[in-house]
Amino acid sequence: MITIKHLSHEFVVGKKGKQTFIPVLKDISFEVKEGEIVTIVGRSGSGKSTLLNLVSGFIHPKEGEIWINGQKVSQMNETKFADFRIKNLGFIFQSFQLIPSMTAFQNVELPLILKGVSETVRKKQTEEMLAKVGLLDYQDHYPGELSGGQQQRVSIARALIVNPPIILADEPTGSLDSETEEDLLKFIKELNTDLGITFLIITHDEKVANIGHRTIELKDGRIIEGVLA
């Protein structure tokens, strides 16, 4: 489902002529199979967020290849990747990344709008999805009027609304209390079991790391453990 081949990346710091290159990922290779939950752990600065950003297409790798669903995405331009992203990837962010001026309903509906789905279908699917995450009664609430757990559920509903085969999650429980964290992890497990959604989760939380079928540990930009299934 996701194949990473000899992926390397570095950040450029400083002005032109006085640039410094800081390597972040060094020759990373691994694979995430369909229906798998893979967690990536590592200390701060180990390169796990950079890895997820590369897989998400937010940044382009310096070297190596990224294949998702049989397509080489590492060389895709921004426009092509946007179309690919909306069909194949769902995102859960640590800070939820909801649009504050939109209601819970509008936030969840947004990917369907971008996909060009008709209004009637959109309304039905959005309500179903909000019901699924238990927030139908809160559909007209703005993110500022929801708790952290509720916001994360809206964020998950938005990620799931286009039925993506893969969900990329960056510290999904990072802003949640322990009770809400439990609920969320349970929900992720259910989604994986019931719908067969593949998860690639970045975390430094042991509890989250434990829900994965496999855990990959990064240290100083290299994989030190868990490449093989």
Partner: protein, 451 residues
């Protein structure tokens, strides 16, 4: 993303910053109104001038004055041969040719008299050109004439005419004017000649066969008497000169010139089948060294002059829109900056950069078009007010009435269209850079709220 959703997005975004958007729309509307009102003055004056020109002339009429002669560089008068040549030209509807009796004809009917112009016209060609009778018929023989519609206006009682016989407009008062019927009546045409210093007169009795149709132009008057070619020949036989010219002594003029003018026409007009054909006929006549005048030619020059003036006014007006566009640029740049985190989130979940660009361009177009629409409506109001108020001001300030045909401001449909096109173009240009900036928003920085 569907267009209807893009519009919904734009409307939502505009609502978020109502005051800023309203002020930008206001600036655009003011720019558009300025452009339209400014240019409308050019359009209004052009309309007045063209109306004045076209009302006084028939659009398809071409006056031919003569042909340039290579020998002397002067012009020779036109004769039958030229007329025949004109008639054979394509798109020519009619060629009228008139000879003028070279002395003022003195007409007497009962106790009433007047001196007026006597014309020898070729009626078949006149009718083809649009000459019509209001009563009676055309002259059938040399003793019959057709009189102009306004012929009786100056047919006053015999004797010396005094001031009290005329009204304020200089028209003969009705009680001093001939009010009887004309058709079938005999009028006496008195022609004179000089012989050995003495004036000798001869009376030619003629019967009124018809009266010409009332001239279509309100200001035009037709007081002429139309006589036949045969009658002219009788008059020439009496005076011994071509077209009845009165000469004190034959030594005063070149006899050859006098003889040459015998069979020439004093007034030749070519009528084109339609307005589009006028230019072609004029060009052909000019190629053959004929001196011509047509209102279409004059209109062309006037229109060219006004086109330059209008282009200048529109250019000045465009500067106002350009100033307004700075406001649009500013509004859009601020919108992009404020919405950068939202743009980042949208890009992260799969929004196409092209869609984002289109949303921002739509927003700037929306502002521009609403502004242009409001500006157009306002400028129609201003234009109406200008046409209503300025004549009043002129009357109050200078005590003079403005002629009704003067239009101070006119907005033809093309003007708002030009304004909207300019405004839309300027809006797109001013919205382009902020829209491009929106597509380049870095997802990661935007999501960290660092933009």
């Amino acid at each position: 993303m569907k267009l209807s959703d893009q519009f919904r997005f734009v409307r939502q975004n505009m609502k978020k910053n109502r005051t800023r958007v309203y002020m930008t729309i206001l600036a655009t509307a003011m720019g558009c109104a300025f452009l339209i009102v400014l240019a409308s003055v050019g359009f209004g004056l052009q309309k007045s001038v063209v109306k004045e020109m076209t009302e006084r002339r028939i659009m398809t009429q071409i006056d031919v004055y003569g042909q340039e002669t290579t020998e002397s560089g002067g012009y020779r008068q036109l004769d039958d041969k030229d007329v025949q040549e004109f008639e054979e030209m394509s798109d020519v509807k009619a060629v009228t040719r008139r000879k003028m009796l070279q002395q003022e004809g003195f007409y007497l009917i009962g106790n009433y008299q007047q001196s007026t112009q006597t014309v020898v016209a070729n009626f078949p060609s006149e009718i083809k050109a649009g000459f019509e009778l209001s009563a009676g018929s055309l002259a059938k023989d040399k003793a019959e004439v057709v009189v102009g519609y306004n012929f009786p206006l100056n047919l006053g009682v015999k004797g010396e005419q005094t001031e009290e016989m005329f009204d304020e407009q200089g028209q003969l008062k009705e009680k001093f004017r001939y009010n009887g019927k004309l058709i079938g009546e005999t009028i006496e045409l008195t022609v004179s000649k000089m012989e050995d210093g003495k004036k000798i007169e001869k009376v030619f009795p003629v019967k009124v066969a018809g009266i010409s149709k009332k001239p279509t132009k309100e200001w035009a008057e037709d007081r002429s008497v139309y006589i036949s070619e045969e009658l002219l020949k009788d008059i020439e036989a009496f005076t011994g000169t071509p077209k009845g010219i009165v000469l004190d002594s034959t030594d005063q003029v070149n006899l050859a010139d006098l003889e040459a003018s015998k069979n020439t026409f004093d007034d030749v007009k070519v009528y084109a089948k339609n307005m589009e054909a006028v230019q072609g006929i004029v060009d052909e006549l000019k190629e053959n060294d004929y001196a011509t005048y047509s209102v279409v030619n004059e209109l062309k020059e006037v229109n060219l002059m006004f086109a330059i003036a209008k282009a200048g006014l529109i250019f000045i007006g465009t500067i106002a829109i350009l100033i307004a566009s700075i406001g649009i640029y500013n509004t859009m740049t601020m919108a992009v900056t404020e919405r950068a985190p939202d743009i980042g989130i949208m890009k992260a979940i799969g929004a196409n950069p092209r869609t984002i660009k289109r949303i921002f361009l739509l927003e700037s177009s929306y502002i521009g078009l609403i502004g242009a629409f409001i500006g157009t409506v306002v400028s129609y109001g201003i234009s109406y007010a200008v046409n209503f108020v300025i004549p009043i001001i002129i009357k109050q300030a200078f005590g003079e009435e403005t002629p009704p045909e003067i239009v101070f401001s006119d907005i033809p449909l093309s003007l708002p269209i030009i304004c909207i096109v300019i405004c839309y173009g300027v809006t797109i240009l001013s919205g382009l850079r902020p829209a491009q900036r929106a597509t380049k928003v870095d997802v990661l920085r935007a999501m960290r709220r660092e933009v």
